[in-house]
Every structure is written in C-alpha cells, then in structure tokens.
C-alpha cells in the first residue's frame, strides 16, 4: 500500500481546492472489508479503523491499485458502474483531480 500511495503522489502542483482539502473516504470492497483513505493537505494516507467519512467508494479489490495509482480513470470507472460513490457531490471529484495529477496517472499516449 505504501508503494501504491507513493505512485499516487502528484507530479504537478495541485489546484488549491484539492491541495487544501481534508477529506476522508471509506473504501468498501465488494469482496468484504475496507479501510479509510484520507486526503489531507495534498497527500493521501490510509487510516486504521472505520470512523466517519465524507464519501464512500465501493469497488472490487482488484481495482484498488489501478484506482490509486491513477491507472484507472476514476470518472469513467464510476460512469461504467465499476465503482459506486455515496456522499456529497464533489467529494469524488476531489479524488479524481488528485489522481489525475498522480505520477502514475492514466494517460493514453499517441502511438509512436
């Protein structure tokens, strides 16, 4: 997980709305279990325990590394129904913006 979060570090400056946000996401895995992911001052960290959350993301375990590395586009995954989101509008958008700035963000390059 540590390596995963390392890959999600932003490689370009975050917009202030995302950089200054403090948001707690509860990830519920469809296979069972889950954890809290905290976006705080431009960093993602995993927190132990359940606690309150601003948003809930429901997904498959196999998709977690793809999502957090930015390899899987959060917005299209949500539109396909691969992930479900509950919570206030804009909470998922913050995570999407963060991950689009990530080192490993999904980019489709022009064929050489």
């Amino acid at each position: 997980m540590k390596r995963l979060l390392e890959s999600s570090r932003p490689e370009s400056p975050l917009p202030p709305g995302t950089r200054d946000a403090t948001v707690r996401y509860r990830f519920d895995l469809r296979e069972g279990g889950g954890w809290i992911l905290k976006l705080d001052q431009g960093r993602l960290a995993v927190e132990a325990g359940e606690g309150g959350a601003d948003g809930v993301v429901v997904c498959d375990q196999a998709d977690v590394p793809k999502l957090l590395s930015g390899e899987m586009n959060l917005l299209t995954a949500w539109a396909r129904g691969d992930i479900e989101v509950r919570g206030e509008s804009g909470v998922l958008k913050l995570l999407h913006t963060y991950l689009r700035h990530a080192k490993g963000a999904e980019r489709k390059k022009r064929a050489a």
Binding site: G17, T76, R80, G90
Partner: protein
Amino acid sequence: MSEQNVNILEGNTFVVSDRRGDIEASPSAAEGLFRDDTRFLSRWVLTVDGKRADVLSVENLRSDEVQHFLVPGAGTVYINSVVSLIRKRKVADGFHEWLTIFNHSDEERALTVRIEADSDFADLFEVKDALKKKGTCYRAVDGGRLVLGYRRERFNRETAISSDPPADFDDRGLVFRAVVPPQGSWTCRLAVEALRSTRGGSQGPRPSLDRWSQEAPRLVSSWRSLERTYERCLEDLAALRFYPLLVKGALPAAGLPWFMTVFGRDSLITSLQALPFTPDLARTTLLQLAEWQGSTIDDFRDEEPGKILHELRMGEMVAFEERPHSPYFGSADSTPLFLILLDEYERWSGDEAVVRQLEFAARAGLEWIDKYGDRDGDGYVEYERRNAETGLENQCWKDSWDSIKFADGRLAKLPRACCEIQGYVYDAKMRCARLARRFWNDRALADRLEAEAARLKKKFNEDFWIERGGYYALALDGDKKQVDSLTSNIGHLLWSGIADTDKAASCVRHLMGKRLNSGWGIRTMAEGDAAYNPIGYHVGTVWPHDNSMIALGLRRYGYRREAARVAHAMLEAAHFFQGRLPEAFAGYPRSLTNFPVEYPTACSPQAWSTGAPFLLLRTLLGLEPVEGRLLVDPALPESIERIELTEIPGRWGRADAFGLGRLRLEAA
C-alpha cells in the same frame, strides 16, 4: 432538427417528439427521451382503438412543458370527431404525461388506449454515428411498472414506466380499457423515469423558472417582437442550465438535441453574452470549468496542463473510453475565452473573491497558451489534434472538418493558427494584466503580459493582414501561409481589439458588404469564395452568436450605426423563429427571401444563439461597466423607437438603461 419536432427540456433531460407527442426514433430521427447523453425512450406511440392520433394543435406552454390537442384517426378529410384528446407532458428526470380523452357524444364510449413503449438506450454518439449497441436490452414488469433496461458489464440504465390508473402490459407496452361517460372524460397519468446505475451525490434544489425570470432585468420596448424574443430567451436559457454530475452548480449546456452537455467554448460565450442579465451563470461556468482544467498530457483526451475543456459527456461510449469526452479538451480557444470571461465577470459583478479563487487556474491557463497552445514558439496559438482517431480536426469555433479553407477551396494544412484565437489571446493577456495588477499583487506578471500582448498585436497585424484584399486571413496554415478566404472571423478581431485601428475601416466595409452580409446577418464565409455554400455549416450560413460578437466589436471600434444594423437585422430574424434563434440559418441574400431560411440540422434552442439577443441588447444600449458604474450610451435605429431595460444587476446593485431610436439606417 425538423420543425415538425416538438422539444421540451429541463437541464440534463429532454424529450424530442413529433407534433402528436409520439416518439419514433430512427437512425435519421433524433427523437426520444434523453438524459445524461443516453436515450431512455426510443418509442412512445399512442393509439386509440388501433388508430394513431391526428394533430389539431400544439402548445409549448414553457420550455419544459407541452400540450398536444389531438383527435384519433388520421384522414384526408376531417369528419366531426366525437372523441378528442389532450396530451400534456412535462420534463422532470424523465417525464410526466397526462392523457385526457373527451367523449363529445351522448353515448358511453369504451376505448382501447395503447401506448407502445421501447428503448434502444442509445448513446448520443451512437445516434449521431448510427453505431450498434454492445450490451443487452431487457424488459420486465415489476411491481406494476414496466421496466425497460440495458446492461453491459456493470453499466446499467433503466426506464421505469408507471401509470394511474394501472395499465395492463403486453410485449408492446401499456394497454388501458377506458370507459368514457357521455359528455365526460377519462384521464390517465403516466410517469416515465430515467434511471442510471451511476450515483454521485445530490445537486440540491434547482432554482425555479419563475424565480429565474423574476431576478432578470425587465425589458419594455415599443417593438413587441423584441419583448417576446427577450422573454423566450430568458426562459430558454433557464431551461438550458445544465447540472454536471459530481460538481455543484449550473452552467449553460450548448444546445438541443446534440449538445446538451458542458462545452467550454459555448458555456463561456453564452455566459459572456448574458453577463448583464444573469451574472451568476458566469460565476458557476468559471468555477465549473476551473474544476475540470487539464492537469496532464493525455493524447486520447487532447488534454494538456492548464487547458480548459471542450466537452464533457457521460454516456456509454465515454464510460467505456470508446470516446474521449471524460472530459475532452479539443478546443484551442476555450482557455483564452475562460480568461476573458474571468475579467469581464469581475468588471460587471465586482466579485473579487472569484478572481482570487481562480488565480491558480488563470495562471495555469496563461502558461498553457505559451507552452502548449503555441506549439512552435512563433507567438501564435495553433492546433493539431493529438487524438487522430476520435479527436476533432478543427479546434476553433468553426469545428467542422472543412471549415478552414483557402479562397480557392483548398483545405488548409495543419497545424492551423486561426485569426480569432490570436485575438482572444491578445484580449486575455490584456485582461489578465489588469487582474494581476489589481488582485494578484503581481506587477511583474502584469507588465510581462502587456508587453506580450503588444508584441502579438504588432506581429499579428503584419502576418495576417492581406493587403490586396483589405482584410485579415482566416488563419495561417501549417506552412505559415495566409488562408485567404474572407470570413466572419474578422469581426471577432474587432471584438477582441487586436485589429489595428487603421485596418478596421476596411474590415467593416467587408462585414457590411454584400459578399459577407446577407441582409439578415454576416455569413460565416463570403459569397464568391470557392467553398461558399449558403447552407454549408461553417462556410456560408449565418450564426447569431457570431453576429452578436461582431456587433459588439463594431461598437468597440466606434461603428455605432453598423453595430445597430447588425443587431437590428438579427433581432428581426428572431421574429421569424418565434423569438428562438437557431444555431444557424441559411446565408441566402435577404433580397431573395422574405424570411431567414432554416438550416436543416441546426440545434434549437442553442445556448449561444439564445444568448445572442442579450449581447445585441447590450450593444444597442451601449452598456459598459466603468469604474463601478454602469455606462449607458444607446445607439438605436429609428425603427426601434424605445427600449427600457431596468433592474440591471451588477456591482452598482441594480441600474436602469433607456434608449430612443435616433439612428437612420440605410437599406441593407
């Protein structure tokens, strides 16, 4: 869209039907119930005792509500019918329909009322490009509802149809056995819900149409047609407010039926047009577009850091990344237009907080212009798509593939530097210099931007000016050759202020001359150029938004009479469209027709056409925010005797403007 279509809309949901209220979608007919880029109903056909209805009258009560007056059975000769129907429909996350059948005879009538219902769940792109579905459709009766569904992996969309009284269901849809008493009526209420599997938090309540209208300035004019146009535009603009998923607040969607979504360019220009009337639209447009600003280099989406988006979609093909609109960034002008709107919004509203909040986004946009927009460092923003498969070839407002052509009809080579985009960049830099000095406490940036703008203006007036023609080139092509067709784009150079004053007079002669000016408006391309076609999308038609920007440009350079002429002609054209100017209309000379001829597939309502009368009113009344006050300097033609626009919102609170028609306009 055919004039035989009836459309009603509310934000992200709209219904296109025929005049009976029936929906019969086909590859060539964009009829249906649409929501979030998906067609949730492709068939909705009413029969009474097996007969289709015939139309007596259609009444578009409001933009979200319509009433069809019908009699069962279509015939060549009308025979007194003893049965008639009223079919009332209102859009709301689907639609509600009230069907009332009247029995005008003295005998009880037992009727079989049937509604055939089906859905193809087509993505808007599939409708446009006639593509086949990859998932599976299903239908089921569940708890007294007919459920039409579509599934592809976890992507699931459903249409739930219920009624009061309850219907019987069969393979084709809903059946009612209606018993209508003598001289009585039978009523049925139908609810069609468009359900998506994607959930993303609520947007909160939407301001009502009534409240929206109450907060807008009041218009009184001796020209009744102008009043009607104004009312219609206010209502249409309210209906076009789009609430994107995930981000709070509304911004104008581009147009119905193809463009009911967020478009950077269209939303920005519409917000600019409507600033003196509904300034809050500009605020949310700026905040929304900043939220989606480009952050990385992504060839598929034509994305670059700091770039403002072109288009955001949420249909199936986008979800499965078969189309790049999540969002797509293929427009070279949305970024400078974003910066222009930011400054203009502050000038009108005095909302410093938004200017400070968006400093990061504005700086990123400025960096995009220099680092990515100007691909080769020649000082001009040029474009060539990164996504060669599904990206847009033309990334200027004339975005059809064949719009950028030489006068002899040859297609210009890529990358293309279109003239109006250089004007927008010039204007954006000048305006951001003001913002940097006044709000961002960065004098060095302000000085740099002003110096860059001055250099750009000087170079542009050398490189784009066609001496022999006395106008500016449409673009520089990939070989830096002047694309020498004569187009409406030169009017945008007046709007942005990049044109040298000594060159403006010649441009104005062209804009008002017979080659460009049809008498109803300025054509996108001049008659006489090889590619000119009066019904060519960007090569000869007249676009209302284009004309509204040109009219303001004419005022900017002191051509009051010419501005009034352009404004007046367009508002006259609006009269022929019942106050709802379409996206575009044909470029035939006015001397040939007594009315503006429709363009076959134009969107209507279209946001920036809806916004055009607002900007034309601003131009006619000469409204400008100057040092915290509203300056009013009317220049009205004699034919408009009087315009009173009261309660204009702005940093001054509310202000009034009055104008009397004093200009005598020579015949077009």
